[in-house]
Symmetry: C2
Subunit: 347 residues, 2 copies
Amino acid sequence: MNQESQDIIVQPDPLREFATTLYQKAGVSVEHAELMAELQVETDLRNVHSHGTRMLAWYVRSMLSGEMNAKPEIRVVQEAPGIAVIDGDNGLGHPPSALAMKMAIEKAKSAGIGAAGVRNAGHFGAAACYSMMAAEEKMIGFATTNTGGPSVGAPGAAAAVIANNPLSYALPAGEERPIVLDMACGASSWGKVRTLQMYGKPIPPGWLLTADGVPTEDPDEGRILTPAAGPRGYGLGLTMGILAGPLVGGLMACHKHQGEPSEHFFIAINVSSFTDFAAYADEIDRGIRAIHATKAAEGVDQVYLPGEIEWLKREAWVNDGIPLHVDHLRELASVAGELGVEICWEW
Amino acid sequence: MNQESQDIIVQPDPLREFATTLYQKAGVSVEHAELMAELQVETDLRNVHSHGTRMLAWYVRSMLSGEMNAKPEIRVVQEAPGIAVIDGDNGLGHPPSALAMKMAIEKAKSAGIGAAGVRNAGHFGAAACYSMMAAEEKMIGFATTNTGGPSVGAPGAAAAVIANNPLSYALPAGEERPIVLDMACGASSWGKVRTLQMYGKPIPPGWLLTADGVPTEDPDEGRILTPAAGPRGYGLGLTMGILAGPLVGGLMACHKHQGEPSEHFFIAINVSSFTDFAAYADEIDRGIRAIHATKAAEGVDQVYLPGEIEWLKREAWVNDGIPLHVDHLRELASVAGELGVEICWEW
């Protein structure tokens, strides 16, 4: 069965309204419901379906069951001229994360750099949502988070020791699109392994280890994900789990369990505190054009910048609608049914 | 011929004095000469010979030829409460880089986070020298630099587009040693490729591409280094070259040529502005011990933390002396002979 044939086109505006309504039905304030819908639909528009509205049903059910706090009292618990720490009161991760990046941006306006951490909150979705907030303000943004307990190994380990933590940098340009890196520190993810397995496709070598730390391409034998580029991904994943972890009052991955609240960490670097923004932006534009003009390998149409393919998807889908998998929509329809909300697409 | 048999043991104290004298003979101030010797011998002690005193002869000759400024006027050209930009006046990279990290640390004491960039300076040696300065002050340190013109490809490219830029994080612990990540963004380096070629050893698959962007394991056919973990190393290398580049008034790799002055970039994050340092340090210590206790794969003695093997080398070599390759020492002896300085080892 072709994967595309399982997609249904959904328009972003109605999807945003639908998501806002569902969050409100789960007890979330209008302000937070609109923010959640905005960030999740933006993530879908960038073709990062794993981190967009696909997560909505899970979040809503966590609030309905009382596992997650629908009406958190978000508080700034530490503050200095360049930094802040925010307690998310066991609520959704996106609202305190957006506040943290806003505070980092404000602080960077006067200090030149600002950072903010969040503790005791849910997942924050895609890291790029927050780094891009800084790029919109002509700043370089950085965002990271931890993904809970250990799932990725260390070089030489026969057990997982770090989480598959992502990190994102967004770098503003002038006339060109911002450069947006959003990567995990593992060689892959369990989600990708299970998807390949479901479609009967081979698992690329180097992704998985058995419980004895022996490389395997058999998804049933695989117990440990490898870190991307060995010691590099291990070191980065460990570091991200300390920034979004003990630095803001949380735990390291090896002491965490799935389902516990998460920590997040953000930096904003104000370009114009360092140099003339126009000169910076001209140089970035020139660099982007030079990379576009680079000779491509055989069979490759052109060389892209990090995040560029996501920008191109967004530019197309904001008009044409977002293709969403029927399983993704079935899950949304199920939670909508429970809450008496009408769906915004036709089957 | 065994590689170890080509090593001669040199004691760190006399090596430091020797290096200090050589820099002074090249016209460098006592203060900068001592700093250079200190950082380069520390780098040798950590078994990072590629970035320690091995570079001394090249730096000294660059100053003697007038290509590099031996008596730079190091100036702070931009400043805000959390940041600074320093112009290195085309001198050695280490002195303005150490000043930049010191300024970042000072700013982080009051602002919670500090950053500083350096432009118009030479190479800065090993990135970990600077990130570790922050860890000594109970801060999380970050350091990056650019390595000049393009040498590493992008996914799908048949030409190099980014430099093989390193990045380092140093994270303080309590009773345990700081965690020190120091990595390049390429899958390997030309230095390693040439060393393997010299010893007649195979080049690991995935490191090299031909001029047409086709993977090769033949070092004579290889023209492009691949980025570590494909899009991850590409994105990180590109980002590091913008932080240590256009952000501080420099150029992107695709507009640079080898031998031009470099840019450097540093961040210090003051842990105690975010959380109680003792609680942070306890959690890091607990995490380090949990990782040490992790089951190791067959044939592996134990799982190490990033930078730990370098700490163990340092702890042994600070007493036993540093094994340095005869070619490394011949080069030092040659420049010492030209400047009338006695060597501090026996052949």
